[in-house]
Subunit: 428 residues, 4 copies
């Protein structure tokens, strides 16, 4: 395959234009498996909190590809000796395709059905798919090369590092893109400057020391985005309901319940025996359609949960001052006594994230650290020189929340023991 | 109903924040009918051309409400005597709900099934719906008031004018919003300035003369958006396929064909006897899910069309230098001879729009003109004083395009008469 | 001279970063003649209307250089055969230095003292200056090459075309930059798209036909910027006072008046015998300082004018419905009768601009037309295919304004003939 | 004085529009003392590092006024009982005028001549000036009221708090404005959200707890701006030269040196006996003009320093690994031995800033803390609840730099002792 006779572009609100110069990339984008990513939202249920957040993994994948392309282009323009020129296409394909295996409302469905999107990505790349066929035109072993970059066991470490590291194209794109589509301005990082500061060096992508402040700003943005967007309690509430729907449907299916609506490939999903072909039928349109139909299912619990999700009648929540298992057990017991179902009427949530973690001195950290290259060509881990990064490393904030259906709680409010009414009295 | 104890806000990328101060508005937003607008894209199939354009009518409706709120707030702050203060809530409700009756891929579905979203909006407002119930809390006749603003026959003309006019909140929001989500920058108008220049005057919303340049800019933006976004040939291609799918499915249904997948309320759609309740089940998730399932229908035509739409294997197109019906007839005849099906394998498209039209001197124009208020408190129609507007009024550009399936054309290419091969040789 | 060992960048609000890769460019930027441009505002007195407009010709010159660099870089990356590769540095130097000869408040001072900034640019390039010495390091004839590009008589026409044409780097930078610093959003053009669409073709820089809408948008932006920014009546008022100050000072100097403050090189300016070295001493700091000191000059007129300019007590203005010389003469006569001085107390202003003009069929147009390159590699002048451009070509708007000192008019108000009081009664 | 018949606006790139509703504010803006702020740059010599940073204290002052106006307008709209309604105009005037006493290149000139801009602000407000006269129209004691807010001893503490606190309108405007004009994006804070979260409470302006993340982001932005912009070594280098020019000129004046150029009010500046009227003649145009003329002074040192500043031939710098006074003494001694002048050829710089400091438990902190108002209406100091703020509080970064003239160092390079050549070998 060759270069395209004329560069193709996609108009993109985040990067202005996505540039495609290689026929290979063009063909991959036009496969049905890649087009399917249009029907998977980048931020799952966040659109229920931030109405602008309807953007798809399709657009994010193009963005990750574009950033990777710009990085490699900079490396090549400057003839950096540590960049292995032959790896360009492997890296670009891995960047473009790294999210190919994501399912609808990915994190929730993975939890509910014990799947893993990375596995699915590799199965799609290596299977008898349009993507697989296009990749094979580069050589029989090319799909496996791309898959191994995504699995992080590719021989040429710098390629893995480019696609997966604390400062990779994936993270940069999603911070910028999620900030743009939600409308918050916490995620506006100086990507141009970061890109200019990246250097291939001894099998790693490192950052010139003079780019330190831009990296600090990036880490802070990441931290803010987690707490403002990704962990927003309203989003968590919708994810909880989503998981409960999946759980309930699976239970019913296992019990032999007759669904009035159960198109392909849902039975395979419940049986955990999906083929690649079936998996590719899964998208968010299907999930939403099933839920719309299930609003009228006979099973009252499933019907109620689907109504909640589709009509956005989410669970309310309260913050727990402190947390211990005993207490939760007691609350659950009380719920039972009140005639509530603690399996569905109560969920505990503890979102947590480390802005940047380098505390563990073991081998696993390799690839998780951000390394700066100073004037004397020495590598230093960023928290050694940045006061800011050192200060925020290891901050492990996290609050405990209880989620529950407000109307059911209201119905038993007069019978609530004092302790519970204190907890649930601060509802939001 | 009262003011909310504390103002609620929605984070919005276009207006920064959407402010809700009235309990009425808050309750309306939380009805299931309004939440359904999350599942209707603002720009239909444009996401297949501009991947960022996944934004929903939900977000647009909030935007129209917000702009209307700001206009009225300006009118009230300045105590303009021509603004009827009691109409505030009617106007806000009409602004918020004006798109409530839109169906999935609205323009295409309306054409295919001869429906009208405005009618559906009124049926939902006046029907036994959550929205209807909330509106009734303002008085038995309140739903009808809101509906009549939307039908443009409300007694107090200025309210209609605020919601529907060449410079209304609807148009301002969609220009800004569609520009933002597609990423093009043609739609960036100086809304703050336009809003500051609006005045209620003798039953109309007019513009202070000093705002003329901002209005010129708005009209030019509108013109550019039509040609860059709304009439983009790739989008038109996907709309054509969409309409063909609807047409084919309807034909098959009429013939008694047994669909392997035909959930509610599709039969009612094909029969044209949908109830309001059924209509509200229609959304883009359902349409996409049906198309995914129909990819495997036995009917080869339906299956092919659905594959095209879902996997984005769209029709190619050529531009016609000139247009006459005779020629088209001939081309269709040739298609037939070649074994192609001109009913589905050839579509003619002629998108057209007037940037601003005031040429017809009749009564109908009332409400379609933009009036400027000069220093002497005289009203002048904008094209009388703006060279730019006068220049572009009546420009009726428009190109004829032929759309067709590339692969079928390829198969008969060697048998194509010279004239046709000249036409189709310039394919894009 | 070589490439810089490491690229240097300037942070720029409009282009994000200005990239310098050539030692030659780096040295030119650091000459004292180029640094002087920091003390010349890009928009002259516009800061008195738009307080953000304090940006300098230094920043604009960097911007023009950067756009030119990007265009050439695109030409080289695509190996377009019609781009003469050896001309890169000549073009970059001409782009960077084209405004080098601008004086303080350039347009006003040129009018008052009959100078021409292009001549001064060439004198500086070719003279014994730091810039001249740096350029000579590229060859004895290099300064003359750069000068001839700026004079538009360089042999290789495409280089001239790149630096001076209706769609050149100069215009693109100033639209974007002036829009950014004033804060208006009329000047936001899609520069990335225009740059991608430019092609070197038969000694010209032309535009691919698919870029037509971006060019239309650019021409409309240019039109709007002229009327919103460059011709703003408050700015014109301050320019009028500025010219009057220069005029009065020159008159006084010619009369032998003893200025209490007249540092170098003002005498030379008044005598029209400035050397290059003296000319380079002229900057806006000097002009403002002189005016501050002259607020206390004995000559009442000069003192009043300087006070007006420095304390922003500008002339008021009225718009003339129509214009004829007879009427103006009468008004001037009336002024005289009232004891006013029509030489200073009354100025007529008629700003005018053509958005795009191609009407004259003569040779002179070569270089003033925007040519599109269509799919069949034919060149067409843009107004032949763009309805918008055709519509606005030749629009020659323009209003007549009278400017005058409000306080002096107030003093004679009761004695004003009816006709004059009608005219001046609408003061702004 | 009354409200203006029609609101006036200034177009502002940062706040879009500055709204003026009170005649008082309008008259103040049009005084010559306020107009003088156009000739004082907001960021002093930063334009030599960031060429966009030519914006004036005039624009910043309007911005501070506008933010204050919006805060108060929010307070009034919500009828918060803790906001003293009668204080609106005092607060707006103090916001608008708080920087009125700034001199040219304020920080440097204050250091060189032991002045204080706050004192000058008060002298101008209370003196026989246009500003003073306008203020007095509100009552004889009104100028003193405004002055005491600026001096922070106004009786009604909340007014002081609004204008001067860690989260005041001053800081918010300069972060946004300096980020905009330099083009860096570290300063983009979510001002709308912060403003919405501010509450008047018990004599203080506090922040609703839900605004905590926006405040964290603001503090981080502030930190980044200090290190990226305000403490940029190139800016520090130019400030050092500026101070040296002032110092040298003062020395020469004290010695009776005859300057070839010394207009009013420079003698008074050197004598430290400026009147208010004379002080108001000081602006950056005058300073730059004096420096341009002094390039040709006989005193070689003054001439060299002025050439350096005007032609941007700044001092180079090296970073000191560690710092002790002994070492500096030694370096200075070595300089003397080499024939260099350590008084002018060597400067040590140690810029430092605390992002947020609450460590000292004393009374002085009142007014320097950011207080959050939680749901239970309790006030908590932000670092008690924010991990981020606690982490960065008290970070006292700071690097030592040595600045010196590169050419003089070059001339003695071969004679440099080893230790010095190691230090100065890493020049930037």
């Amino acid at each position: 395959m060759h270069n395209l006779r004329e560069e193709k572009v996609f108009k993109d609100p985040v990067h202005n234009y996505i540039h495609v110069q290689d026929e290979l990339i063009w063909l991959l984008i036009n496969t049905k498996e890649f087009q399917r990513l249009r029907r998977i939202r980048q931020l799952g249920t966040s659109y229920l909190t931030f109405h602008g957040a309807e953007h798809s993994r399709f657009s994010h994948s193009l963005g990750v590809y574009e950033i990777t392309r710009r990085i490699i282009s900079q490396f090549e323009r400057n003839n950096y000796p540590d960049w292995p020129q032959g790896e360009r296409l492997v890296a670009l394909c891995a960047a473009l395709l790294h999210d190919l295996g994501h399912g609808p409302f990915s994190h929730s469905i993975e939890q509910a059905f014990e799947m893993n999107h990375e596995d699915w990505t590799c199965r799609i790349l290596l299977g008898d798919t349009e993507v697989g066929q296009v990749l094979k035109r580069m050589g029989e072993d090319f799909p496996e090369k791309v898959a191994s970059v995504i699995r992080k066991d590719y021989a040429n470490e710098i390629v893995v590092n480019l696609v997966t590291s604390p400062l990779d194209a994936d993270r940069m794109d999603y911070l910028l893109r999620d900030a743009y589509f939600t409308g918050v301005n916490y995620g506006t990082i100086d990507m141009d400057r970061i890109l200019r500061m990246l250097r291939p060096y001894q099998g790693r992508v490192v950052v010139k020391e003079t780019g330190m402040h831009a990296v600090e700003d990036y880490l802070m943005s990441r931290y803010q985005m987690y707490w403002q967007i990704y962990f927003h309690p309203v989003t968590r509430s919708s994810e909880i309901i989503l998981r409960q729907i999946f759980r309930r449907a699976k239970e019913l299916y296992a019990e032999g319940y007759k669904f009035s609506f159960l198109p392909q490939p849902l039975p395979g999903l419940f049986n955990s025996d999906l083929t690649v072909e079936q998996y590719l039928l899964l998208d968010e349109a299907l999930v939403q359609t099933a839920f719309m139909q299930w609003k009228n299912e006979e099973d009252a619990l499933l019907s109620d949960l689907c109504t909640r999700f589709m009509d956005r009648k989410l669970y309310k929540y309260v913050e727990l001052e402190s947390f211990n298992l005993e207490k939760i057990k007691e609350i659950r017991e009380e719920f039972r006594k009140l005639g509530l179902n603690p399996e569905y009427d109560l969920e505990i949530d503890f979102p947590t994230d480390l802005p940047y973690d380098v505390s563990r001195p073991d081998e696993e950290l390799r690839g998780k650290q951000i390394l700066l290259l100073d004037k004397q060509e020495r590598l230093v881990e960023i928290s050694e020189v940045s006061d800011i990064v050192r200060s925020i490393s290891g901050i492990q904030r996290g609050k405990f929340y209880l989620y529950y259906p407000h109307n059911k709680m209201q119905a038993v409010w007069h019978r609530l023991p004092v302790e519970l009414s204190q907890i649930f009295g601060q509802e939001r």
